[in-house]
């Protein structure tokens, strides 16, 4: 097992380099650079200043040279500074000679996105697993049908539309929840409990809406997994041994039905760091989705590469974790891995 893990981890390094090379070149396929943003299309601004800026950021050099410079910097795990936001560090904070700390862009956006996505994933699982089980147990009956309808309605509704409607109803008509943003404007002066409540109320809509509308796929997985398992022989054996239905379903059937879910969760780890740019824009949440989208529009190459690199590293790690978790959970796979 350990040999297998070491092999996988070592393979990640050339894979990451390959991914970053391809990403870098694809990124440069789009025409334009940081000097072509709307602010620079001002009749009072000069082309010379834009040219000087290009030289300052090495944008006039050939793409392969720029990639080499980026790779060299990455060797020391220095993700560089953003072009578009006054040289803010891309990843982690940097301290200058005077002791001023400037926070990194990913350092600020990632915790927010992680919090929203992890909460959302928990809520999705907490809702989808019981719904899937109910649908499987009462297959073909009204409970199954209503779960299916509920899921498909949620899946088909455009979440930005639903978000705006709920923002209007919950925030404008009834002053129950804040409409947008992450914190109230007087957040700094609140006591701890008030801060927790404030964050919770701001996150309510951005977390609930995507998780409820995204229930469909996980519910279907659980339901199909359960259906597969419930018709197996060992379940019939368990029932004929006289075990209660509750014990049959929850102690014996469920753990086998949930195996594919482990893979799903492992594969969704890279998704945890990607925020939905639409939801983040509507709710004014400064997360990773908006960071990436803005960076692409502004051609902020260091930020784009930083996010792509972290995303690819997490994808590789997530895949590895999913495989390991599956091996740990399923003895059949474990034996196969140990042999090979």
């Amino acid at each position: 097992m350990v040999k297998y893990l070491i092999k996988r981890v070592l393979w990640m390094i050339p894979m990451l380099i390959g991914i970053s090379l391809i990403s870098f070149f694809v990124m440069h396929l789009a025409p334009g650079d940081i000097t072509n943003n709307e602010a620079s299309f001002n009749p009072k601004s000069s082309e010379e200043s834009r040219q000087k800026l290009r030289e300052m950021y090495n944008l006039d050099k050939p793409v392969i040279v720029q990639y080499g410079l980026w790779l060299k910097r990455m060797g020391t795990l220095d993700f560089g500074n953003s072009f578009a936001t006054h040289q803010k560090p891309v990843f982690w904070e940097k301290t200058d000679e005077d002791g001023n700390i400037t926070k990194g862009m990913i350092q600020q956006a990632l915790p927010i996105t992680l919090m929203i996505n992890i909460l959302g994933l928990i809520i999705t699982l907490v809702l989808a697993i019981p719904l899937g089980i109910i649908a499987a147990q009462k297959y073909g009956q009204w409970q199954d049908k209503s779960v299916t309808i509920f899921n498909f309605v949620g899946f088909s509704i455009p979440s930005f539309w639903l978000s705006l409607l709920l923002m209007y109803w919950l925030g404008v008509v009834n002053n129950w929840f804040p409409i947008s943003g992450l914190h109230s404007i007087n957040y700094e002066s609140m006591d701890t409990w008030a801060k927790v409540k404030d964050t919770f109320s701001h996150l309510f809509m951005p977390v609930i809406i995507p998780s409820v509308t995204g229930l469909a796929s996980i519910t279907l997985f659980v339901k199909n997994g359960m259906l597969d398992v419930l018709f197996q022989d060992y379940i019939t054996t368990a029932r004929s041994k006289g075990l209660t239905e509750h014990k049959v379903v929850y102690t014996h059937a469920l753990r086998n039905a949930l195996l594919p879910l482990i893979t799903i969760i492992g594969l969704s780890i890279p998704g945890l760091i990607g925020g939905s740019v639409i939801a983040e824009t509507i709710f004014a949440i400064p997360g990773m989705g908006k960071l990436f989208y803005d960076a692409v529009l502004m051609r902020d190459f260091p930020v784009i590469m930083g996010i792509l690199t972290i995303g690819s590293a997490l994808t590789l790690i997530g895949n590895l974790l999913a495989d390991v978790a599956y091996a740990w959970a399923d003895p059949r796979v474990r034996r196969g891995v140990a042999r090979g």
């Binding site: 025409p31 601004s45 000087k52 929840f177 007087n186 957040y187 609140m190 929850y250």
Partner: protein
């Protein structure tokens, strides 16, 4: 191992129900957490005498990259930095230049030297004195190669700048430069004692600025908001409103919802919200006041004058007559725009009152096309020249109003036999792939202009290199001469005549079709008092520092922060 974990059965039905209930309960806990503004009964139109205090909240769609405007350049940076820094001069309510940091100024008889006399006892927000040394430092910074400021060109024309004493700042140009005073009304003066030796692209000052104007920056919550509070050392005296909070809300609909819920006090509106939505809701009319002011910008259809047939003036005039501009103003801007005949704001001295915009005349358009040799030989409704049908693509950026205008233009041109396709492209690709390379036929774009009438960079024949703004390729010696004269003529009346003539030649030549000059539309909460309505030439916010919020109308401010 797995069995013991799953023995917990969190997913049994009873547990499931308990979980649903606890989620619902938790959400209720979060409810009612907002400032309960019981604003339903307050009469916001009541008048109150001026008083100090209160917080005004507004919103921007993007975060400023830095608060040093000469480096940042984007509108978000300008919006915040303009509350923090002063310039030597400013424009008053009638758009005449008056002193801000300068008490007075003198132009030498040869018109090449301007001597500014600064007000005395000026202080920065950190109590250090503000002197001409700071102005000299700022000038050096803006022309410095390392700063690479986009706005350096005006200041690079200064041959010599001196600060002979703490209250005097003297600049000498190579030749008389008429836009000079306007440029000094735009340069935000930075403190030398805090920025000397610093790289303006990396200095921490950009996020923690110290200025001299009405407000200073208290907090910058990344991605969320910026909070300003009154600067006690303000060189122009104290503002009335105590705090300004700017929230970063990227989505337009979210901003409007916040405006409706009373969480922000002002917002820029589009024509639909201005004419249809707000007037149709009595609860909004009760608390929001609408303002409209003519901006200093216009939209146009520009031709690539280096390509046939746009080099033929008859073709350009034909297209001009074929487009119904009033239809575009009424359809796209709901009537909130003006049909212009010169590239200047109507009503200002630079706008030539004797010029009439081209009207909508299909007959004239068809006749001109025929004269230029375009005839429909095969009866398919599209005219041809030498067998080639007259078809081209109009490019524009992803701006809903420009796209809609393009659709109306397409239909009107089809009626005279021209086949037009429309393509909307993402901005950076648009500029770098099409504009910079000159690879386009026609574009719909706009110009947002400053208050000085000089338009050298847009129309002069020397400004056609890739990346410069005469990308349509306009080449007119008469216009070149007028533009050069306008730059060196300091007498306002003589200057006015030059630009009137410039506008006349431009209209006759029609290198672009002026589509409309739009109104700036905004809604400001009625709790903000002291706003002039209708807006003077300088716009509604010229006196924003005298606006006040009477105590009974203020938001529930739980704490002073």
């Amino acid at each position: 191992m797995t069995s013991s974990l799953l023995k917990l059965n969190p997913f049994s039905q009873t547990h499931f129900c308990k979980l649903i209930f606890s989620l619902a309960f938790a959400s209720l806990v979060a409810c009612g957490n907002n400032n309960t503004n019981n604003t339903a009964n307050i009469d916001y139109s009541k008048n109150y005498p001026p008083e100090d205090g209160g917080t005004m909240v507004d919103a921007i769609t993007g975060e400023p990259s830095s608060l040093i405007y000469m480096v940042a350049g984007e509108s978000a940076s300008a919006a915040i930095a303009s509350n923090i820094f002063n310039k030597l001069l400013k424009y008053d309510k009638n758009l005449d230049l008056i002193g801000e940091l300068a008490e007075s100024w003198q132009i030498s008889p040869d018109q090449k030297t301007i001597t500014f006399k600064l007000k005395s006892n000026l202080k920065w927000a950190d109590n250090k004195p503000l002197t001409s040394a700071d102005v000299l430092f700022t000038w050096r910074a803006v022309i410095d190669e390392k700063t690479a400021s986009p706005y350096a060109s005006d200041f690079q024309l200064v041959k010599k700048a001196e600060a002979p004493d703490a209250n005097t700042f003297k600049v000498t140009y190579d030749q008389a430069y008429a836009p000079a005073l306007d440029s000094w009304a735009g340069l935000q003066i930075l403190p030398e004692h805090l920025l000397k030796g610093q790289n303006l692209h990396t200095t921490a000052f950009a996020r923690k600025p110290i200025g001299s104007h009405y407000y200073k920056l208290d907090t910058w919550n990344n991605g969320e908001n910026l909070k300003l509070s009154r600067n006690p050392n303000s060189v122009l005296g104290p503002a009335k409103i105590d705090k300004l909070v700017t929230r970063i809300i990227p989505d337009n609909s979210a901003q409007f919802l916040e405006l409706m819920a009373d969480n922000i006090d002002s917002m820029g509106l589009d024509p639909i919200k201005f004419s249809r939505i707000v007037p149709s809701r009595p609860e909004l009319e009760k608390k929001l006041a609408l303002y409209k002011e003519l901006g200093n910008s216009y939209t146009y259809l520009g031709f690539n004058l280096k390509r046939k047939p746009f080099d033929d003036i008859r073709v350009r005039l034909a297209i001009n007559y074929a487009i119904d501009k009033q239809e575009i103003i009424d359809g796209v801007y709901l009537g909130l725009g003006i049909n212009i005949s010169s590239p200047y704001k109507p009503g200002t001295r630079w706008s030539n009152p004797s010029l009439q915009p081209y009207g909508y005349d299909v007959g004239k358009a068809k006749a001109l096309l025929k004269e230029a040799g375009f005839i429909d030989t095969d009866g398919d409704g599209i005219v041809e020249l030498n067998g080639k049908p007259f078809a081209f693509e109009i490019l524009t950026n992803q701006n809903k109003e420009r796209e809609k205008s393009a659709v109306l233009i397409q239909r009107r041109l089809r009626a005279v036999g021209i086949d037009v396709k429309i393509r909307a492209i993402e901005w950076a690709s648009f500029i770098s792939r099409f504009i910079k390379t000159g690879d386009f036929n026609a574009v719909i774009l706009g110009w947002g202009l400053g208050l000085d009438p000089d338009q050298f960079s847009i129309w002069h024949s020397s400004q056609q290199k890739p990346g410069q703004f005469n990308f349509i390729g306009y080449n007119n010696q008469e216009v070149d001469k007028l533009l050069e004269q306008g730059r060196t003529e300091l007498d306002p009346d003589k200057r006015m005549k030059i630009y009137h003539e410039f506008a006349r030649v431009l209209l006759a030549d029609s290198p672009v079709v002026y589509l409309s000059a739009g109104y700036g539309l905004s809604a400001i909460h009625k709790r903000i008092k002291g706003i002039d309505n209708p807006a003077p030439p300088a716009g509604v916010s010229y006196n924003s520092y005298d606006w006040y919020i009477p105590e009974p109308l203020r938001r529930n401010e739980i704490s002073a922060n």
